[in-house]
C-alpha cells in the first residue's frame, strides 16, 4: 500500500516535470511555419552557421520600417559566388521576407532594404553558395511598435 503510494507520487512528479519541459520548449523553438518555408525554399540541406552577417537593430521602435543589411563573405568570382540570399522571420503572418538572386557580377554580396516586423521575433538570413553549401545568421529583434496592427 505504502509502496504504491510512493510510486504514484514519483510517477506524478515525473509526469509534471515532463509536462514542464514540453511546455517550456516552444518558447525558443523555431515556429514551424518558418522552418517549413526554409525547407520549401532550400530543400533538405544542412545549414551551417557563419559567413553571413545579418545587420539589424536589436531594439526597434517602429516595426513598419526596419533597416536591414545582409552581407555574405565571398570572393564573388566566376567559380565561387553567392547564388541567393533569403531572409525569413518567425512571427509575421507570412514567414518570407525577401529572396535575392545574385551572380558573380555582383562583386560584393551585400544588400540592404527596409522590412516590416509584426512582433518581437527572430529574423534569419540564409545564403546559398554556388557550390550548394548553405550558411545562415540570425538576430533576435525586440519591436516596441508592431507593424500590421495600426489601421489606416
Amino acid at each position: 500500500m505504502d509502496q504504491s503510494r510512493r510510486e504514484l507520487l514519483t510517477g506524478a512528479a515525473a509526469f509534471a516535470g515532463g509536462l514542464l519541459l514540453v511546455s517550456a520548449r516552444p518558447a525558443d523553438a523555431t515556429p514551424a511555419s518558418m522552418q517549413a518555408a526554409i525547407r520549401n525554399m532550400l530543400g533538405d540541406v544542412e545549414i551551417g552557421k557563419g559567413k553571413v552577417s545579418l545587420d539589424i537593430a536589436p531594439l526597434v521602435e517602429n516595426g513598419n520600417a526596419v533597416p536591414m543589411t545582409v552581407a555574405v563573405e565571398s570572393p564573388m568570382t566566376a567559380t565561387n559566388y553567392v547564388k541567393a540570399i533569403h531572409v525569413f522571420n518567425e512571427k509575421n503572418p507570412k514567414p518570407n521576407v525577401i529572396s535575392i538572386h545574385l551572380g558573380p557580377r555582383a562583386g560584393k554580396a551585400s544588400i540592404s532594404t527596409r522590412i516590416r516586423l509584426a512582433d518581437s521575433q527572430r529574423v534569419v538570413a540564409i545564403a546559398q553558395m554556388n557550390d550548394g553549401s548553405v550558411w545562415s545568421d540570425e538576430v533576435n529583434v525586440i519591436v516596441t511598435l508592431a507593424a500590421c496592427v495600426e489601421g489606416l
Binding site: 551572380g103 527596409r114 522590412i115 489601421g151 489606416l152
Partner: protein, 107 residues
Amino acid sequence: MAKPLINVPAKAKRGEVIEIKTLISHVMETGFRHSNIGEFLPRDIITQLVCHYNGEEIFRADLFPAIAANPFITFHTVATESGMLTFEWTGDNGFSATGQANIAVVD
C-alpha cells in the same frame, strides 16, 4: 504613376564595385489589414525587382508583404563597361514600373 529613384554613380573605374540604390513609391499593402471601417484591404505589393546591365541580368529580388512601404533596395555590381542599367519593378494588379541609369566606365 510611381517614379522610381535610382542612384548609380555616373562614373566608375573598370572593375570597381559600385553601390546601386533604388527607391520606389508604393503602399505595399500586406493583405492582412482592415481599414478603419472594417473593410478587408486586399494585398497590393511589388513582387519583383530585376536589374539588367547592358541587357544581362545582374540582380533579381522577390519581395514579400514583409517589405516596408516604398521599397528601398541597395545592392552592388562590378562596373564592367560603359552603358545602361535598366530596372524593372512588377507587382500585384498589373503594377509595372521601369527606370534606367547610365554609367561611364573609365580605365
